[in-house]
């Protein structure tokens, strides 16, 4: 094993990962083909650090007590999308303790919205569903919120189904940073937080969003959908039918596949 400090590497689940100066842990991991679960992270945007799915534990230590027993002292927990990689650090990701926390987060997201995968156009290519399968979510675990949310079908080409929003703000960031339109924002606090559209009526149809905008093609779940297109890709050929989300980190981020 090489000296991590000299060659700018760190250890992810005991596997040596090279990195470039300024890269975050998740950027370096994904570049090396190592998957860290995430939802709000996207390589084209500044880290957001809100979904916490990419949480890892850094530099846990094992000490020997006076009576000769080994005791593990957990390292600090950090969002790998906002934490710079540092030479020699030891990062734990796919360990039971962290995976359990991620599974809980996904379960909470699944009951907070109305995620009916069987009739969702994004099924098979949805990051949330892909992660749920990957983390072994077999049932909701928590009581469903059954939030009542209407769809916004006012735009001629794009439909918003708020039932599935996970508040990742990818559309907010894409619209502001790439499209320069500020079509989307989050409003409210706590469990009243929700996605809104920047128009006097509050309707998407009264914004200047275009179907070709980055914001219209970045949603990791089934909120922002292109109208009149549904279930065009047969079972077996959908994105995560081909390979589970964790087995193909080259496809790690939402892609422009609906236009």
């Amino acid at each position: 094993m090489s000296n991590g400090a000299d060659s700018k590497t760190f250890f992810l689940d005991e596997e040596e990962i090279p990195f470039e100066e300024g890269q975050t842990i998740i950027q370096a991991a994904l570049s090396a083909g190592k998957f860290i679960p995430h939802l709000c992270y996207h390589p084209e945007f500044k880290p957001h650090g809100s979904c916490k799915l990419c949480t890892v534990r850094i530099d846990s230590r094992t000490v020997t007590t006076e009576d000769g027993q080994s005791v593990k002292i957990p390292g600090r927990a950090a969002a790998s999308c906002t934490t710079p990689a540092q030479a020699g650090q030891h990062v734990e990701s796919e360990v039971p303790e962290i995976q359990d926390l991620r599974r809980t987060l996904v379960q909470m997201l699944l009951v907070e919205g109305n995620h009916y995968c069987p009739s969702c156009e994004k099924s098979g290519k949805c990051m949330l569903q892909g992660l749920a399968y990957d983390l072994g979510v077999m049932e909701p675990h928590f009581p469903q919120y059954f939030s009542k949310r209407e769809v916004d079908a006012s735009h001629p080409d794009v439909l918003l189904d708020f039932n599935r929003c996970i508040l990742c703000e990818l559309c907010v960031r894409a619209s502001a940073e790439v499209d320069k339109k500020n079509v989307f924002a989050l409003s409210g606090r706590g469990n009243t937080k929700h996605l809104i559209c920047n128009s006097e009526s509050g309707k998407l149809g009264d914004t200047n969003l275009a179907a070709t905008d980055k914001a219209a093609n970045v949603c990791p779940v089934g909120v922002i959908l292109h109208k009149r297109h549904g279930f065009e890709v047969p079972y077996g050929q959908r994105r995560f039918d081909m390979a589970p989300i964790s087995d193909n980190p080259a496809q790690y981020a939402p892609v422009k596949e609906q236009v």
Binding site: P118, S119, C120, E150, V151, A153, K227, G230, F231
Partner: protein, 499 residues
């Protein structure tokens, strides 16, 4: 025609004893039968109740139209393909006026005939053959598919493998054995590859042979005991189904034809686009399931049967040769008039399964099934009606979609709903003939369930009468005197009866 209201409501229910068969076993979904009898076991009231509520018509509202064929099929786990395709046909009308490429139509047909095969095999072998092979009041411990497998392993194997083949046809055409996504508004999302075609084709002849054997089994049972098979649950009624433009049997598309109980044509080649003026959906206060009837004939005389017994006797031919030969024999057995004995459903159902097996082979040999033109375009409309012959009978889907692509209205008349009155009349007929004056035993009560099973009802699909059930609320004072009354009729109109 038997009077549909006979034995529906007893005059003095509080003075009668109540027998409940719950759940009705070996049917799809959950239902129960209540029977009211007097001290001498004379039957006064029999009702088939559906004890679950689905409500799909309501929660489809507000959803984007392209979700509907995939969403609405979740009504059912047995014949979801029917809902998938009926919804797709309705949405075809909306997205392109109902145009399909030859490949799209044939892939959908293949999916549908695969479903017809698997559903009919499931019903006959798994659900009904224990009654038919062992007797209605045989040992209840053996009266099931495990008992059939022990006593007649070849029959059980045939049933399992026929169903498996049908499920494979569905998987290849829709992506999954249950709840696939193959059919989309305006077409399909896949056709067959050569490998898929050959995979199914290699077993097609065996399925035809086994289907022929199944017809032989039920035919022999029928002819061996005509006294039972011809008269059990005999409910003469109107028969309604889709037929093709030549009057032939067609499960996927056609126009409506109805014959009266004597076989005379009441109407023919009526476009299903006008179904809502043709049919009225009646409601009763004791059921979530509606009671449709032919409007011009009225509620009392306009009820009808759908499904295999109606289809086989309504059509003038079957396009596949072996099933057609069986149809001719079936019709000849019935004589000058249609057969209405409920057990005739099984015979007709097996003829349909043979037709499905033959048609599957024909479609697999058609080069269009591997074509690449999957979608068609045409003018957009705001309303669509799709009708299909599901395994259990005629299935109506009706939607309106607004200019924003969102569903604003949905109405479903499910196959089993069409048979609601006929099923109730059949169980009353059986109760009257077999239960009256007898000490009730499990075997006797199973006669009631046998009558229901003939119709192969899918109870879970059939309950949508949200807000349509008539209600009456009375306010009674401490002396028992009614001081106010509020009523709601079948259209949701609130009235004040006033005491």
């Amino acid at each position: 025609m038997k009077h549909q209201f006979e034995l529906e409501t007893a005059q003095n229910p509080e003075a009668l004893k109540r027998i409940v068969i719950e759940p009705v076993s070996r049917v799809e979904g959950h239902g129960k039968v209540t029977i009211l009898l007097d001290d001498k076991n004379k039957v006064h009231q029999v009702r088939l109740h559906i004890v679950e509520f689905r409500g799909f018509e309501k929660f489809i509202e507000g959803r984007p139209y392209w979700e509907v064929p995939v969403l609405v099929q979740r009504l059912c786990g047995i014949c979801p393909v029917s809902h998938h395709l009926a919804a797709s046909k309705a949405m075809d009308m909306i997205v392109n006026g109902g145009i399909l490429t030859p490949t799209a139509e044939k892939v959908r047909r293949l999916m549908h005939y695969g479903q017809m095969l698997q559903s009919h095999a499931l019903h006959f072998f798994h659900l009904s053959s224990p009654d038919l092979l062992f007797g209605f009041d045989s040992d209840v411990a053996k009266r099931n598919i495990v008992g059939v497998a022990a006593a007649n392993p070849d029959v059980a194997k045939m049933g399992v493998l026929l169903r498996k083949f049908g499920q494979e046809v569905i998987r290849v055409t829709s992506g999954k054995r249950v709840h696939g996504t193959g059919s989309v508004p305006g077409g399909v999302n896949k056709s067959l590859t050569l490998e898929e075609r050959d995979y199914l084709l290699k077993d097609a002849d065996q399925m035809i042979a086994w289907s022929r054997d199944a017809v032989r089994i039920i035919k022999q049972l029928h002819k061996a005991n005509p006294a039972l098979y011809d008269s059990f649950g005999d409910v003469p009624s109107t028969l309604m189904s889709l037929v093709d433009e030549d009057g032939g049997l067609d499960f996927y598309h056609g126009a409506l034809r109805a014959r009266d109980k004597d076989g005379e044509v009441i109407f023919d080649q009526v476009s299903y686009q006008g179904y809502n003026s043709l049919l009225t959906e009646g409601v009763k206060p004791w059921s979530y399931m509606k009671f449709p009837f032919i409007t011009t004939l009225g509620e009392e005389k306009g009820w009808y049967k759908v499904g295999p017994l109606a289809r086989i006797q309504n059509c003038t031919r079957i396009p596949t040769p072996q099933a057609e030969a069986e149809r001719v024999e079936f019709v000849a057995y019935g004589g000058a008039r249609p057969m209405h004995g409920s057990l005739g459903f099984h015979w007709a159902r097996m003829i349909e399964m043979l037709c499905a097996a033959e048609t599957i082979k024909d479609l697999l040999l058609d080069p269009d099934i591997m074509g690449t033109e999957l979608m068609a375009e045409g003018p957009r409309r705001g309303e669509g009606i799709g009708v299909i012959e599901a395994p259990r009978g005629t299935l109506f889907h009706h939607y309106r979609v607004d200019e924003n692509d969102v569903v604003t209205y949905a109405n479903l008349i499910v196959s089993t709903t069409n048979n609601n009155t006929a099923m109730n009349v059949a169980v009353r007929d059986v109760a009257k003939h077999y239960l009256t004056g007898h000490e009730l035993t499990e075997g006797l009560l199973n006669h009631i369930e046998v009558a229901i099973r003939c119709f192969d009802p899918c109870l879970s699909c059939a309950t949508h009468a949200l807000g349509k059930m008539p209600l009456e609320v009375s306010l009674v004072n401490a002396e028992g005197v009614e001081i106010d009354r509020l009523t709601k009729d079948g259209e949701g109109r609130i009235g004040n009866g006033g005491a």
